[in-house]
């Protein structure tokens, strides 16, 4: 993403280690917002998992009940979309869903959403690409996998080959586009409200930015992240099943 003079639309570098930093191999490393908050969301997920399973009881209560409800609903979703025999993909899909939802919803706290960076969404979709190919090879064997490319007719090989590679691109751009559009629209609205409250009230108090953007936040920071994470995981499930099935 190119940067323009007027408005910054890429992630900012928020953490860097200069030449005097005591640890040698960290010198010159720059960490931008996306990487920082992705690591933060990952750490939060790990902490939640540890805390919720620390003192497990037979009848779940409190935080353990929440964790069990999440896990059970993810397993049910995977079971109804991929079948019981492919339940081993449930941890992958569940982690993907939770990570994508919360890393996009981080805009609620005023930070920049992780998935508004194309690198993050492409990382996810390339991982899904390798999972699809690996699951296909493991299920059908290398011969059967390669035979799948020329399955109905050999002249369809270019189309089938292209199909495999357009999938991660469209997955990544769909997620990036939705979240980035939300971030951009909220930024525009905030700028406009800033102008309104400066020119109407003549005080450095952001009156109009407090309550008015809340419906927008509700749509772009709560509804849209969960919807897009759901769509991402649904599509990856569908394509994993398609990659594993024989024609």
């Amino acid at each position: 993403m190119e940067e323009s003079e007027s408005m910054e639309i890429g992630p900012r570098v928020i953490l860097w280690f200069d030449e005097e930093f005591p640890i040698k191999w960290l010198r010159g490393v720059e960490i931008n917002e996306s990487a920082f908050f992705a690591i933060l969301v990952g750490i939060a997920m790990v902490i939640f998992a540890i805390v919720s399973t620390r003192k497990m009881k037979r009848d779940p209560k409190g935080i353990q009940g929440v964790a069990e409800a999440i896990v059970e609903s993810i397993y049910n979703l995977v079971k109804s979309n991929m079948g019981v025999e492919r339940l081993m993909f449930a941890p992958l899909i569940g982690t993907l869903f939770i990570f994508l939802a919360f890393s996009s919803a981080i805009g609620l706290f005023g930070f920049r959403a992780v998935t508004a960076d194309m690198n993050a969404t492409f990382a996810m979709s390339i991982m899904i690409f390798f999972v699809i190919q690996g699951a296909g090879i493991r299920k059908k064997g290398i011969g059967g996998y390669l035979h799948g490319f020329i399955e109905p007719y050999p002249f369809m090989f270019p189309i089938k080959f292209m199909e495999e590679f357009t999938l991660p691109i469209s997955l990544a751009f769909r997620l990036f586009g939705n979240i980035f559009a939300g971030v951009f629209i909220i930024e525009l609205i905030m700028e406009g409200l800033h102008w309104v409250s400066e020119s109407l009230v003549h005080l450095p108090i952001p009156i109009f930015q407090t309550i008015l953007p809340l419906p927008l936040n509700m749509f772009f920071d709560i509804f849209e992240p969960f919807l897009q994470a759901f769509v991402f995981s649904m599509l990856s499930m569908a394509f994993i099943v398609k990659g594993m099935s024989k024609h």
Partner: protein, 88 residues
């Protein structure tokens, strides 16, 4: 035409193109209303399948939404980043 610099010309055409790109919203809006109408019809016919229909509808709507989101990205890039001015 003599008073307009080439940069201003490209900027104006970029803004026009950014507006035209969003015409894709017409098609997407039409498609989404069709899909939602059909979903309402099928829920009315089979209220017990509401959950499955709703889930499929949401995924389908998000897929249809994608093209208008792409158009929005193109128009944002045309207005904010101005890639065509750099080519001059």
């Amino acid at each position: 035409m003599s008073g307009i610099s080439s940069e201003a010309f490209v900027l104006g055409l970029s803004a026009l193109a950014a507006g035209f790109v969003m015409f894709v919203g017409i098609a997407v809006g039409f498609g989404q209303t069709q899909a939602t109408g059909k979903a309402v019809e099928s829920i009315a016919r089979q209220p017990e399948a509401k959950g499955d229909i709703f889930q499929t509808l949401i995924v389908g709507l998000a897929m249809a939404e994608t093209s208008v989101i792409f158009a929005l990205i193109i128009s944002i890039l045309l207005v904010v980043v101005n890639p065509l001015v750099g080519m001059l």
